[in-house]
Subunit: 349 residues, 2 copies
């Protein structure tokens, strides 16, 4: 099948089918990803994250709506939304959010919405998200919004796979020292106080600004523990001024502030391109996504190579505390001779 | 060094030193874990999780305080607290929480508190938490409280490494459909509405009860994607009645409700033991923790075996989209001949 042609002709059924292949990690899906990969890299990837209850779905809906209905006479942009829900490994929490979203965006051919719930292993959702972004990127959407629920590290990681990260807060948590976490702030390119008509909105804005001033560690420098280093230009190579994270107010359910937020998202994208930081983030994104792929592949291969009976037997001993975890590891994952050495030795014979 | 003796004599410096070794994943730490592992399995492991801002630290402090000051004439129990902060990979958010905690618990020799922030790779925090629990378990603490911030999947996973899971909510989020996530509810053995003196507490309690009644999927059946199956007795083998998740009210900063909560925690532990579910959860805990250890080990070994220059070269091609991710994977993580086959072939020669 000519996936590139099908995607680029805007065939929604083809997009949906390929996303399902990618979610299920099929050989056909992998082959299609190989085919479409050279056609990626054009969309603006925008991550939206924040704790449950802050109104991320409404906000994402309104950003998409603003893309479709530009106030300034520009052409409407096409938008894809991926709603990732790592807090719901069991049931379809994301489906509820979708229903809300559909009220404003349904029937619009320039909008594509996909929910992804966690299936199986922890790493699967990040891989599937990265690959779904590739599909929608190759399909030519101008902006891809990746919405993740929660404030845990999996969300931090998924957010780091986009180019512009919006962190959403809501009033009413600002009085608690645990409420505004440094970690989540440090990935933010734009901070939004949603539900800005609720009491306490001013304090939340002030608290966020104070936290930002305290911080100082620039966004985007997520350490990925990968051994290579980017050979991209230094940060802010072409501009002397860095990006100052703005704190914006929105009332998404009343559609207030979304157009201003979209302008800020565009300004950030322009900053990323002019400063050379876009290339740096792209490099980081590629390393991180590949790192995850390596991890998942190694584990899958190990599982295939070990006999279930042997694992069961060792696990029983671990359960009875006749073996410690590291002793069990030595038995089931023994140090193997590195492959290249084996090859060299075989050639010497 | 005789770690078992040092830990069991209540040597706090030895405990702290071993926890540091474990956090840094040193060979000495691993050797000590092998030594102490047969002495684990006695403590009651209690996980406390929930979104930022609900007051988990205060609640954990009050549960510990209730253990130390039993109202019913029982003997005080020793308590260890591990505060895990996966939302803060960069800076020490957990340290603030500690200061609050110390007001009520400082100077008490029967309480040990340790904060763990995320360092390096994603899987590291889960491994370090599991191993810190082993250290504190071998040191003879009666109860180990594991507090995790956030509502993401990493927290779900960490919570699943304990025996009794308390999920904390606070009033004011109950009107939002995203606020109470099915995933986090399904891991709860006990639900607590903290800050129960705030407006909206009644609605939050009602909303949680309604969600629980809607659910039906029992807690603790986290799928871990591991190929073996427990050979433990069926759920509720000795009792016909399952555990009904209670919704409790607390005002932790006023120390209200903590004694009742502790009684419920004890009741859940008794239920787990009588029903046979404790063994089943222990089996699940061991499989999940070992699964993570295998994953981490395989990735570490791969990193050691690959030359940085070769990775760099392939990553550059990926960056320029001359290779797709799966093509890069085929180059850098080629399918190796399974080890046993290699050995057999070598023997045949």
């Amino acid at each position: 099948m000519d996936w590139v042609g099908a995607l680029q002709s805007g065939n929604r059924l083809a997009i949906a089918r390929l996303l399902t292949q990618v979610e299920n990690d099929t050989p056909q899906g992998r082959a299609a990803l190989d085919e479409i990969f050279p056609h990626t890299g054009k969309a603006h990837l925008v991550g939206v994250t924040g704790a449950p209850g802050v109104g991320k779905s409404s906000l994402v809906t309104q950003i998409a709506w603003a893309c479709r209905h530009p106030a300034d006479g520009k052409a409407p942009r096409t938008v894809a939304i991926i709603a990732v829900d790592p807090t719901s490994p069991f049931s379809g929490g994301a489906i509820l959010g979708d229903r809300v979203r559909m009220r404003d965006l349904s029937g619009d051919e320039g909008v594509f919405i996909r929910s992804m719930a966690t299936r199986g292993a922890l790493g699967g959702i990040a891989r599937a998200t990265v690959e779904a972004v590739q599909v929608l990127d190759a399909a030519g959407f101008d902006m891809i919004l990746v919405e993740t629920v929660g404030a845990g590290q999996s969300e931090v990681e998924i957010a780091s796979l986009t180019q512009t990260t919006i962190v959403v807060e809501a009033p009413g948590l600002g009085d608690d020292i645990q409420a505004i976490k440094a970690g989540i702030l440090e990935i933010a390119d734009i901070l939004v106080v949603n539900k800005a008509d609720l009491p306490g909105a001013d304090q939340t804005v002030l608290a966020l600004r104070a936290m930002l001033n305290l911080g100082g560690s620039p966004a985007g420098e997520l350490h990925h523990g990968f051994p290579t280093e980017p050979e991209t230009p230094a940060r802010h190579a072409e501009t002397d001024v860095g990006w100052e994270v703005p704190v914006m107010r929105c009332i998404a359910i009343k559609r207030e502030g979304a157009a201003e937020l979209l302008r800020m998202v565009d300004a950030h994208y322009q900053y990323l391109r002019q400063s050379g930081e876009l290339r740096q983030r792209e490099w980081g994104r590629i390393l991180l996504a590949f790192d995850r792929l390596v991890q998942q592949t190694l584990v899958e291969r190990w599982r295939k190579s070990a006999t279930p009976e042997r694992i069961e037997n060792v696990m029983q001993k671990l359960y009875r505390r006749e073996l410690s975890p590291y002793q069990a590891l030595d038995i089931l994952v023994p140090e193997t001779t590195p492959r290249l050495e084996v090859e060299e030795r075989q050639q010497q014979r």
